[in-house]
């Protein structure tokens, strides 16, 4: 058994002992609504994918509390280095469903100009939510580098670097945590242990006794926390963040949770996730758990979820319609942003592409002169 005791705040009936979350009622409700927003976004994306309107999505059901709890411990001057499953953090910080849907449709208003797959978001405002990359773990040492810059400049900002259980096997995990330990970087590493890396359960991923213990290999203190307990995740993250701001270096947090959906819309988890496991975790759903707490504080009554959720759904649906109605990126977007300035050889290739379009028509997405 692990030396790291699982930290919880909320019991299943909503009790929180004498825990002080430091959150106002409005903030608590914002956390709650953010979880429902994740769920609404998820549900909508799934439908959009099933109906062929978008190509791909990544389900977040089950892990909303981890994302929202962690995000709630940050200031907007902090930086998030997210994994592809972390859009709840962006939603919490106020990124609009519309900006997110532009990405899901890869249209002309997408921050990534339609270059990335869906759910590979990039935002600078209202918080640095760093452009998501598909290769697993590469963002971990990058987050450490960004944190190092904060430290050198004497800022008290923090980099929150998030990844999955599978991500701990990546090269970036090893180099990132090792560098952060040596540099005492103001970084908080959030390992979302959601039970699976695509089809691989954690025991095929590592023989270690959980993931928190991996911090010891780097001299980094670690916390094991119940990932379905929003307040516990918030508290653990806040502890790591406080340590970082105080100049005391990094923290590793293992949030134990469960991926209730498939890995992605292309995945069929029934092939490898035992039904009993799903049932077990269904019981631990973070949303009703948090609702019980809100109810105990008089902030929630039966029926509120449906009301709020349908509000979220309306917002997301509108965003999706708007995004779908937005034109595709222009052909020029293939050729820009490779470098700050477009070099001659890329310019020529762009001109040839426009020329072909003029001469042979077809294929949509702009026409006329190559504009760069």
């Amino acid at each position: 058994m692990s030396d790291y005791e699982l930290r919880t705040v909320l019991d299943s009936s909503g009790g929180a002992g004498d825990h002080d979350s430091g959150l106002s009622d409005a903030e608590l409700m914002h956390c709650y609504r953010s979880m429902l927003m994740v769920r609404a976004f998820d549900d909508t994306a799934m439908k959009l994918q099933r109906s062929g309107r978008i190509g791909f999505s990544i389900p977040n059901r089950g892990i909303e509390a981890t994302q929202v709890g962690a995000a709630s411990a940050l200031r907007t001057t902090d930086w998030i280095f997210p994994s592809y499953r972390d859009f709840g953090m962006a939603l919490y910080h106020g990124v609009s469903a519309t900006d997110m849907m532009h990405n899901m449709f890869g249209n002309a208003l997408d921050a990534s100009k339609g270059r990335q797959m869906p759910v590979h978001f990039s935002f600078e405002e209202p918080i640095h939510f760093v452009s998501i990359s598909s290769p697993i773990g590469t963002h971990i040492p990058q987050g450490v580098g960004a944190a190092h810059a904060m430290k050198l400049r004497g800022e008290d900002s923090v980099a929150l670097i998030s990844f999955g259980d599978g991500g701990t096997s990546s090269l970036g995990f090893h180099s990132g945590l090792n560098f952060a330990g040596v540099w005492k970087s103001p970084a908080v590493f959030l390992c979302q242990n959601n039970g699976y890396a695509i089809s691989m359960p954690t025991e095929k991923q590592t023989a270690s006794d959980g993931f928190a213990v991996k911090g010891e290999a780097y001299g980094i203190p670690a916390i094991l926390v119940d990932g379905n307990d929003l307040l516990a995740v918030r508290q653990a993250t806040a502890e790591g963040v406080a340590r970082a701001r105080a100049g005391d270096g990094p923290t590793l947090i293992e949030a134990k949770t469960f991926r209730m959906g498939g890995h992605s819309t292309s995945d069929d988890p029934s092939k490898y996730v035992p039904k009993e496991l799903l049932d077990e975790w269904e019981e631990k759903d973070p949303v009703p758990r948090f609702e019980a707490y809100l109810a105990s504080k008089g902030l929630w009554v039966e029926g509120d979820r449906e009301t709020l959720y349908s509000g979220c759904m309306a917002e997301v649906k509108e965003a999706a319609d708007l995004a779908q109605a937005t034109p595709l990126p222009s052909l020029e977007t293939i050729f820009s942003d490779v470098y700050e300035e477009v070099p001659q050889h890329i310019r020529s290739q762009g001109e040839e592409a426009y020329d072909l379009l003029r001469r042979k028509g077809d294929a949509g997405g702009g026409g006329g002169e190559f504009p760069l």
Partner: protein, 324 residues
């Protein structure tokens, strides 16, 4: 003979090789019970057991590194990299180790192994699920680089790769996984790792291509034929070491060459084809040695159909070199 998709042919190739040689193992991320994200390894764990087809932790460096050690010590590992875009964490193991082990040990240690990986665009995968990195590996002496474009070749080249005494990177054009079907012989057979395949004969223009560009070039060639241009299409299929004599002969035959690939142009594979011709057959050339390739940018998502060479772009190049 059975009619199979290219994906089924890969699966058949793996099964055949595993039946024939108990030293053959298959492993990688999600290749076990799930059968791989494209299902190329479906049914292997149930037929051969977890000892011979199994999942590994999420580390391409570990997958390839372990494969090298197994190969050194008598096994015939077939490692899967889930997408070629994710092979880069293993680049050091491939380029510094697998490729150089025989040389640096004077032949004492060798790494007969296969790394299979889906590559190329056409599935709306954006920057990181679409790349064609063949040129990186073809610049690495000690490796062999192979890519099939038909189900027949997929099975036969794969079995040949598994039997080969040297490390082979086996690039599977994912756009063709389910979109091409063809006859595939039962049982074991090999396709030689040192020959090209003449897809169609012609005498006015020669088109070199491979992987998912082969059907694109065939279509362009058919359309060219309609306007009276006779096009020879050559599927290079073993990219490295290349059958240079075959390439030179096909180039000299028409004096007009177009090479097509998905990868970016600059320092891409087509550059080598052009260079070989410019160095050893320039006096036969009647037109600019032409390339049709992906652009020198990362791979986009929404607009991938503009990025990927299509039959229109290839046809345009054929017409240009023909009219020159």
């Amino acid at each position: 003979m059975a009619i199979l998709t290219l994906l089924q042919a890969v699966n058949e190739g793996l099964k055949t090789a595993m039946r024939d040689d108990s030293n053959v193992l298959v492993f990688g991320e999600d290749v076990g019970p799930k059968g791989g994200v494209f299902l190329a390894t479906e049914g292997l764990t149930s037929e051969f057991g977890e000892e011979r087809c199994f999942d590994t932790p999420l580390s391409e460096d570990g997958i390839v590194g372990a494969a090298i050690g197994m190969a050194m010590n008598g096994l015939r590992p077939v490692a899967e990299i889930q997408f070629q875009d994710f092979i880069f964490p293993a680049f050091d193991q491939i380029v510094s180790e697998a490729a150089k082990l025989r040389y640096r040990s004077g032949g004492q240690y060798t790494a007969p192994m296969v790394i299979r990986t889906p590559y190329g665009g056409g599935i709306r995968g954006g920057l990181y699920h679409s790349q064609s990195g063949e040129a990186y590996f073809c610049h690495t002496p000690g490796l062999k680089v192979v890519t099939p474009s038909t189900p027949h070749d997929a099975k036969g080249l794969l079995i040949a790769a598994i039997q080969d005494p040297d490390p082979v990177l086996f690039l599977e054009p994912k756009a063709l996984y389910r979109s091409v079907k063809g006859e595939v012989p039962e049982g074991s057979y090999t396709v030689d790792l040192s020959t090209t395949r003449t897809v169609r004969e012609g005498d006015a223009v020669t088109v070199f291509c491979y992987g998912a560009m082969v059907p694109v070039c065939e279509k362009a060639a058919e359309q060219a034929e309609e306007s009276g241009i006779s096009v020879e299409v050559i599927d290079l299929r073993t990219l490295y070491p290349l059958d240079e004599q075959g390439v030179l002969a096909a180039a000299k035959k028409t004096g007009r060459v177009v090479t097509v690939h998905e990868a970016p142009r600059f320092c891409g594979y087509a550059a080598e084809i052009s260079a070989i011709i410019a160095e050893r057959a320039i006096e036969y050339m009647e037109a600019p040695v032409t390339r049709v390739t992906g652009f020198d940018t990362p791979f986009p998502n929404t607009l991938e159909h503009h990025y990927l060479p299509d039959h229109r772009r290839v046809l345009d190049a054929i017409e240009r070199v023909h009219a020159f």
